[in-house]
Symmetry: C2
Subunit: 428 residues, 2 copies
């Protein structure tokens, strides 16, 4: 009897707070084709970069062999332009036969054999954004079944060529249809991005019940301006967005563009740090075959991934905007730990930002600080004045343990620390 009660309570809490497919209790991680490879279907002239099964096989091999999978990057996600322009004689979607000669089911097995998962893409309209067959209302059931038969693990449902009324019907209907297949399929909804991302047009309680993640805002591009634009929108609207997120249901500020062409090293660290603060899905869109070692080390940083994947799943917030262009972000983590990010919007030189932990809402105590991108560890008392040097368009990111109870040894270390600290807490 006790057993039954516990199960019931647990099931209830899941139903109340998130889609009941049990998936994505932490933000999903993996790779997604769109930003880097778009709708390149010219396999004749551009065979290494066109949307084809060999592109996804290449990326799967890299994820499995280059240390990505072990860190959690397990989804390999197809985006637009994968299908034939025509459905088959049974009315089912089918992959483009030239570019995916083995078909999607075989590709899914390739992923599963390597401990990876396959994601696929569809659209609520009659056509996808790229002009391929869509999945309008009357095709939802058959397409959900097709994806399940193919053993697909995730589905992104885009919104081109559909209106608000259709979306209001279609996005919940697809959720039901995917659940009805019996196969756990992570469900990414572009719905809110097509409705401005804010209430009253967007109902985040409902989204949390039908989708595992959702795109709130426009597409990311390969530029720092695009990152800034996304950061601005998400943190200006944080009071709306933070309560929407939690285990199994995530705001999605779009792909990681680290390793592409438009970001400096500092800007890459900034994207990684703030996506971790936001508890954002981490889908890289880059070329894992040629990625350079600096970009890889940022994407494979275990501490920032650990912060992103914190099991409490509480989305963080901006707590300070200084006139100097310095902003401070904070996210509460399990075990009374937390993450802090100091970010500089400046374009001149590293800025020396003086503050104390107590100014950042840390209560009395002594804290162990891990610098995420330099691996340095120090102790810091709440009242100690310190200076962080933040690079232009860069960040300093800290993982902060629960406050320690002071003892003699720690007092000694702290005093030692203060001296070093006053010099400079540098990142570069």
């Amino acid at each position: 009897m006790h057993f039954t009660v516990i199960v019931f309570a647990s099931a209830l809490s899941v139903i109340t707070f998130a889609l009941d497919n049990g998936l994505m209790r932490t933000p999903p991680m993996g790779w997604l084709a769109w930003e880097r490879f778009r709708c390149d279907i010219d396999c004749e002239h551009d065979p290494k970069n066109c949307i084809s099964e060999s592109l996804f096989i290449d990326m799967a091999d890299r994820l499995a062999e280059d240390g990505w999978r072990e860190l959690g990057y397990v989804y390999v996600n197809i985006d637009d332009c994968w299908s034939s322009k025509e459905r088959d004689q049974q009315g089912r979607l089918q992959a483009d036969p030239k570019r995916f000669p083995g078909g999607i089911h075989k590709l899914a097995r390739y992923m599963h054999d390597r401990g990876l998962k396959l994601g696929i893409y569809g659209d609520m309209g009659t056509l996808t954004c790229g002009g391929y067959p869509g999945t309008p209302l009357d095709k939802i059931e058959i397409d959900a079944q097709t994806f399940a038969e193919w053993e697909v693990d995730m589905f992104k449902y885009d919104g081109c060529w559909s209106n608000a009324t259709e979306q209001e019907q279609g996005y919940p209907l697809m959720s039901k249809a995917l659940n009805a297949t019996g196969r756990p399929i992570g469900y990414s909804c572009s719905w809110p991005a097509y409705q401005g991302g804010l209430p009253p047009k967007v109902n985040y309680s409902q989204l949390g019940e039908i989708c595992n993640l959702w795109r709130n805002y426009g597409d990311i591009d390969d530029s720092w301006d695009s990152i800034l634009n996304i950061i601005d929108w998400f943190f200006e609207n944080q009071e709306v967005l933070i309560p929407a997120a939690g285990p199994g249901r995530w705001n999605d500020p779009d792909m990681l563009i680290i390793g592409d062409f438009g970001l400096s090293i500092d800007q890459s660290r900034t994207q990684m740090a703030l996506w971790a603060i936001m508890a954002a899905p981490l889908f890289m869109s880059n070329d894992l075959r040629t990625i350079n070692s600096r970009a890889r080390s940022i994407l494979q940083n275990k501490m920032v991934i650990g912060i992103n994947q914190d099991p409490m799943g509480i989305q963080g917030r901006r707590i300070l905007k200084e006139k100097s262009g310095i902003e401070v972000f904070w996210r509460p983590l399990s075990n009374n730990a937390s993450a802090l990010v100091f970010f500089s919007r400046r374009n001149d030189m590293p800025y020396r930002y003086p503050t104390t932990l107590s100014k950042l809402n840390y209560t009395t105590g002594s804290y162990k600080i891990f610098d995420v991108f330099t691996d340095k560890t120090t102790m810091l008392k709440d009242s100690t004045e310190f200076v962080v040097s933040v690079n232009p368009t860069g960040v300093v990111m800290w993982y902060i343990s629960a406050p320690a109870k002071p003892n003699h040894h720690q007092f000694y270390k702290r005093a030692h620390f203060i001296v070093r600290y006053k010099e400079c807490f540098c990142t570069s």
Copy 2:
């Protein structure tokens, strides 16, 4: 008698076309403090980065020991905030005694001992932009003499706190005063930047007669937006600017920010390539003590430096602006050679740009192509269709030799080349 005539003609041509100090027959190269270190005078808390003699000594050591000097980077240039807030009892400028305890003359000797040159900074107003003593009209003669006594090699004359009338008197007067010292001192004028950079307010013929280089436009910042803004202005006004430039007299689009915080690798290559096309002075403003190897290899690329330093000194131009966001730039070089740059303004993915050399105004013939950033060499016939793959915000840069006269061997190589070429001429 013949000898006299030749000397006279030569002197005449110098007077007609450029400042007659004989300096900077190719664009000057070196390091300049401003963009990276600004007016940081806090040597107590930031001793490694404050404007002080040790900063310039550090950079001189790096230039001399890390291969920069041999490539032409010989100027070590002080910018604003170097001086004491007061002139000395004789009315002369003096360095800040705490930050430059050895004084400027000793610093100049330090440079000369290492085969380097020292540049210094002043301003036409009563105060510099940073609030230090300026060099208004009545101080021009004494300051020019002081700089010469200190054995300074270059002088940048800024324009804060001065009006158009003062500038019209002061910039030529300083030119005369520097010449009158008998010491060759390269002369950088900020004058046109304070007058909008364009005729009729700016007289480029006059500038070429009194200055070795001049800032036409606003200050650069550590951002890609700043680079784009500068590129736009200089190439939109190229018909005015190109005739102004030549040996001894250069348009200055401001410092190289490669190795700082705001540019990706591709964007760094773009700045280097387009500054070479513009025959721009190459003053790096970065931290040579910590610069990473990728940035260094771009700044130390011999072929792009060679293009920048071409002895003809003809400034290049934009020859094509495509709707796709691809732009093509061209600069004529000595020995009937030339440089081409393909630049992409896109923010999505590498763009495959199809063209032929004849479409880019190359006449009949077969050309040897050196890819500046990949070191690949190929032959290309004027009529051969090829595709260059240009990264977002990146460039492909070619050095193109004079057309070769075809022979059997070359015909063979060319045919071989075409096949490879049609695949893709990739940079990454």
